[in-house]
Symmetry: C3
């Protein structure tokens, strides 16, 4: 059960409402049955909803005391007695929606905290909550129902659509953002990119960074991640793109729609991603690359060349996944051999 | 000498007090001898205490002008004339305690700064210092002698034991913490983990993250490091576990007691560490792994499988350290050869 | 064109002023010709200044509608009709200066915001701007024309020279800094390094970190980067050294003049860099190393040994660049071969 200290509950909920949220059909006789929340399969009790994602946990399903389980049609027959099968196309997606039914998150408390600092000509949509010590610069515009958390900074002229969630300590300058954009704690958006020119005497002169950051609808930026603004032109995160924590996005990077960028990834300046590109943790991409749509880049990969649409690469330097696995296997075999044999071919 | 601008000194101190802090025995005749502080072996003068950690720096010891040196018994004979040998089991540990005797750190200034923002039903133990612009949410509870630094955020319902040090710009939500926990500047605790489900139309729906972060006694989290709360269930850092800066801890990670996690390491969701696991800088661990107690993981290692207790692994992908060294040596030899010879075995 | 929402323009400017900023000679007849700003070669119109850096973009130059182009002498003949050639030694440097002519950045608004919190005995030079919710500790000293952004923290006793830019959410303690130093958003300077000693019972005792951070003139530290203070003695970034975002600098690291350290690099304690060392993104250096002047370290390199002046290394573990490329090529070939052939030499 979610700790009520931190997570408000709207439970109990009748199975009819749960099934509606999940997009599952249920028999009329059980529609009024009442549930208190969501739980993992192994811990769920008769008043909890659990979910099963794939055959791997079939044993856990059979042993589960859950009152109802979200699962796909072909696994429904394995539900133990007394447990309601809620058949859905994607149990994970249905679970997300059912969990949100029970735990809709804290409601906004519309208004401006007396310690917040609001600049001139700021436009705030209806129902915004501006938290303690928040700072909003001159001429910024926020849509309806936006949250600006404690100590967050929205710089001069910045624009957000409706339903922004700008969490505590985030800063955002030189940025135009769409609807339903979320910046997690300490995210840094729009600061100067890393650009400078050396003088003959060995000093560095900063190249003014004159672009912006454009965030599409439903973009999310993780805690302490950084997105630099463009040098000339813009840095762009396409609609639905999600960055995990501690990610670095260089100036003039452009992503398409729905890219997923896991923690501690770094993308250097001017690299372009298509739609639905996935980059696993700690991978690094050099600058001025083109990464095709639906490409997948492995954890810790070092990408130094273009990647074709749909291609999977990994390793540092990166190569096709199959090749990288083969090379890794080879290295592993080499490492495991007796020292005498471990010399390069042809060496005497 | 420590710069008095930044580090208050309680010196001079008599050797008797120093030896007591170090756990060293001294002859009565020198107990009143006075020292002004601690210093590295090479820079210490007659009024300074230095320490020697291992034979490697024996030459520096012989040349040192230090007034006294913390060292192990077998090296005591090498102390130069005029220098007092303070024999201890662990010179490093003794040095930590002697340095803290001279420099106990700034004393708390109990009270709530007038610019701080304190929510309803907050419980503060005796002697807490709440700094300028700090924010404490409704219902949070802090034990005795806690420091909440400038701009730090303690979210609603959060609980800390005694002697917390929550430094400037740190944020902590959805968290229960033990005694003597330290969060360094900009640490991010308890924010949403990276969890979402795709819709058939290619949108992502956030899976509500309904867990907490549990921090054991004496946990430390480095500057700008991130610890996400659990999805269902908790993210747990066991007692005494220390994170360096810029570390990423995914949702539902669990560590045992006394783990040491160096800068820029990333640990993906649901991976479990035993006790006293050491992870060197920039290593990455994928999710759902089990890492046994006292395992050691090398810098930049890419760990994709379980690691047995006491095992040392490194490389990306990670393998036993001996194997990785052999494979690296092999690669290095290959790289150093003339191009003509550098072709795979059997290639023509 | 730079978006006027975010980037003030001092345009239009006459070509005479532009040429003077660039250090280019022009014919007298065109000195009064007026320009509105800077733009990329492909997008520039007749009132824009562009620049050409190398032969690679000669085609873009020939097709460009730019009114004037900064370029080197040998490319000047390729300028299309109607476009003025501004001949300079370094087009990139000239561009930096011309862009700064058009966009000098927001002027300081001298004064202390009423929500800022200023300690006792603080010394502020002429013309400083102290932003909303900024905190300056007792005894800190700032030179003339310093900016302390929203929520920034300047700790007790900290010293900055003239023209500091301490951006929003940055924190700096235990630090002495020169002139024209810039800390970007969320940079963390001077916090405790990662030092502790184990007790026989398996607890960790913090070793007091008694040093400082010394920042030379014109040092820049990127967003959310961390520079720990020295344990004994100082952590030093030499004049002109620039850190990108999310960089980790351990205690007692010392860099020379003009080092360039790209995003997500980590340098462990007590490693020393000479002058003009370049470290590409995500590279990691272990502690107590010596890296010679003008050495270059590749992206994701894992440096575990000293690097000679002028040497280029890459790979993990790092080796000379040529060797690393050869080893990588070999691995790539191995990976691309049919499984049957991919066995170590001598294996049956």
């Amino acid at each position: 059960m979610a700790d009520p200290r931190f997570h408000l509950s709207s439970g109990p909920q009748p199975l009819a409402a749960i099934a509606a949220a999940a997009g599952a059909r249920i028999e009329e006789g059980v529609a009024a049955r009442s549930f208190r929340g969501v739980a993992p399969l192994a811990e769920a009790g008769p008043e909890d909803i659990a979910f099963l994602d794939g055959r791997k946990h079939l044993d856990a399903l059979r042993a589960s005391a859950a009152g109802a389980v979200l699962l796909t049609a072909e696994l429904a027959a394995s539900v133990p007695p007394g447990c309601a099968a809620l058949v859905v196309a994607s149990p994970q997606l249905a679970f997300a929606r059912v969990a949100a039914l029970f735990h809709p998150g804290p409601a906004l408390r519309p208004g401006i905290h007396p310690t917040a600092s609001i600049g001139a000509d700021v436009v705030l949509g209806e129902g915004c909550e501006i938290g303690p010590h928040a700072v909003i610069g001159d001429g910024a515009e926020l849509g309806a129902r936006c949250l600006v958390g404690p100590h967050a900074l929205v710089g001069p002229g910045v624009v957000f659509g409706d339903d922004a969630r700008i969490h505590a300590h985030a800063s955002v300058i030189c940025c135009l953002a769409g609807h339903r954009v979320t910046l997690h704690h300490g995210a840094r958006i729009g600061q100067e990119g890393f650009g400078f020119a050396p003088t003959p005497e060995g000093r560095f002169v900063t190249i003014p960074q004159l672009g912006r950051v454009i965030l599409g609808d439903e973009v999310e930026v993780g805690a302490n991640s950084c997105v630099d603004r463009g040098a000339l032109g813009d840095t762009v995160l396409g609609p639905g793109t999600r960055l995990d924590n501690l990610v670095q996005i260089g100036h003039n990077v452009v992503t398409g729609r729905g890219c997923v960028i896991v923690a501690q990834v770094g993308i250097s300046g001017s690299t372009r991603l298509g739609d639905y590109v996935t980059i696993a943790g700690q991978a690094g991409l050099t600058g001025h690359l083109s990464i095709g749509s639906k490409a997948r880049i492995g954890a810790q990969a070092g990408v130094q060349g273009d990647v074709a649409p749909g291609q999977d690469v990994t390793g540092s330097p990166a190569m096709p996944v199959k090749d990288a696995l083969r090379a890794a296997l080879y290295l592993r075999k080499l490492g495991a051999r007796k020292p005498a044999a471990a010399k390069p071919p042809g060496e005497d």
